[in-house]
């Protein structure tokens, strides 16, 4: 039973970490695209 609860917590923990990583990736993508768009606009 203990190992089952541990595994459940590990699954939730892993899902939480991955979700936050995806959120971080979203921010990174957003700012990267913003950065290149700003450079392009500055060149014009």
């Amino acid at each position: 039973m203990n190992s089952l609860l541990t595994i459940t917590l590990v699954i939730y923990g892993l899902a939480f970490v991955l979700s936050m990583l995806v959120a971080g990736m979203i921010k990174l993508v957003y700012y990267t695209v913003r950065f290149f768009t700003a450079i392009q606009e500055a060149k014009k």
């Binding site: 039973m1 190992s3 089952l4 609860l5 595994i7 459940t8 699954i11 939730y12 892993l14 899902a15 939480f16 991955l18 979700s19 936050m20 995806v22 959120a23 971080g24 990736m25 979203i26 921010k27 993508v29 957003y30 990267t32 695209v33 913003r34 768009t37």
Partner: protein, 408 residues
């Protein structure tokens, strides 16, 4: 000529009379339930696009049972339990829905089509505007998806079946179908049916949960937007491409679902109007029609009647209830962290039944404060719910087969 000979002219009636009392009661029960689903779909209590074909299919398949060549009873709709290749080839030529089931349903293609359609309808700008908040609420709303896993195992399910049942908590039909296809082929039919039946119920049940857990004063809390982030199509497209690639890299087993979802998003953001019209119209609605029809036809009493079904019904409800509670708890956490400026009702939108739970959240708020708009933030959490459901699908499908020995 006995009355039984007369009945043999009408084989649906004959097989009903000849069946065991339990099977007879189940068939009659499913016929009535099917009619009820059509009625509730028409009334708008349940999702009509799914419930009307599903209900009619359920009634028809349980009425149209006949004696086949082999002497056994069956239908001319489809046989989900066929495993023999020769038999399958023969059935593909006889049962009219067998090609749809074999070539589109049991390999998850129909779920992928629905996901492409959802992708086309999604505006990921809501997630891009507040990614951490949206993903946090969404992962809180996966409480049932995780918590029901040990509960199901304690009730005697093996790890594969327990994970498939727990996935009902994510309230995402294609994900549930996909997980049970990958992990639990024996329970695939009842789990799929229970999941879709309950998805219809979230629309009716969650408003009561919100009223029970969030007082009217907090429900009326207005959202103060500091700065509305403008997200361009290029940013959304870049997110779709990078997000799809990274998630496929992490969870190859759920790659078809990720790909389908982000394909829809990419097509929309790239401005491919012909594809958008096709995927968001004929493909999505065609897939939904056949999904409902197949699910209804799968509800044949002889196929679905199993002692585990009652447990599935209970566990499915617990999973969705816990996910709703988890979402609202997430909403309360953000409410407290934001200095009591965040409407906790938004948390329930983290349950990824797009866009139903976001609409339910807005409706519950509008009842007490008609001028308060929470829909943009709720949609962000709602769309993130699809991503967290996909993440949990990936985790379950990837690690559960390796855990079977450990959990025995």
């Amino acid at each position: 000529m006995s009355w039984h000979d007369v009945l043999s002219l009408f084989q649906g009636l004959q097989t009903l009379v000849d069946a065991s009392p339990v099977l007879m009661a189940a068939r009659i029960g499913f016929i009535i339930l099917g009619m009820l689903l059509v009625y509730l779909g028409k009334k708008g209590v349940l999702e009509p696009l799914l419930m009307v074909p599903m209900g009619l299919g359920m009634s028809a398949v349980n009425a149209g049972v006949l004696v086949l060549d082999t002497g056994k009873t069956g239908t001319l709709f489809l046989d989900p339990l066929v495993t023999n290749q020769e038999q399958l080839f023969s059935l593909l030529q006889i049962d009219f829905l067998q090609p749809i089931y074999t070539l589109m349903f049991s390999n998850g293609l129909i779920a992928c089509f629905v996901f492409m359609g959802i992708g086309v309808l999604l505006d990921v700008g809501y997630v891009l505007a507040r990614p951490f908040l949206s993903m946090f609420l969404a992962i809180c709303a996966e409480l049932g998806t995780v918590a029901v896993f040990p509960i199901a195992m304690a009730l005697g399910f093996n790890a594969n079946d327990a994970a498939s049942v727990a996935m009902i908590g994510c309230a995402d039909g294609p994900m549930v179908l996909y997980t049970s296809l990958m992990l639990s082929r024996d329970l695939f039919v009842p789990i799929g049916v229970v999941a879709y039946l309950y998805l219809g119920l979230t629309y009716g049940g969650y408003p009561y949960l919100i009223k029970f857990l969030v007082p009217a004063k907090l429900r009326a809390l207005p959202m103060v937007e500091k700065k509305v982030l403008v997200v361009t199509s290029a940013e959304k497209l870049a997110f779709a491409v990078v997000g799809c690639t990274v998630l496929c890299l992490l969870f190859p087993v759920a790659a078809p679902l990720f790909f389908s979802l982000f394909l829809g998003v990419a097509v929309r953001e790239a401005g491919l109007h012909y594809f958008v019209d096709f995927i968001g119209g004929p493909l999505l609605y065609g897939a939904t029609l056949f999904l409902g029809l197949t699910l209804g036809v799968l509800c044949e009493a002889a196929t679905i009647l199993s002692p585990k079904v009652l447990l599935l019904l209970i566990l499915g409800m617990v999973a969705l209830l816990l996910s709703g509670i988890g979402g609202i708890v997430g909403g309360y956490i953000v409410y407290l962290l934001s200095g009591r400026k965040f409407n906790p009702v938004i948390g329930i939108a983290g349950v990824s039944c797009v866009p139903t739970t976001a609409k339910v959240a807005q409706k519950s708020v509008s009842e007490v404060a008609p001028n308060v708009v929470i829909l943009p933030v709720a949609l962000g959490a709602n769309i993130s719910g699809v991503i967290t459901s996909a993440i949990l699908t990936g985790i379950y499908v990837t690690i559960i087969p390796h855990l079977n020995n450990l959990l025995k």
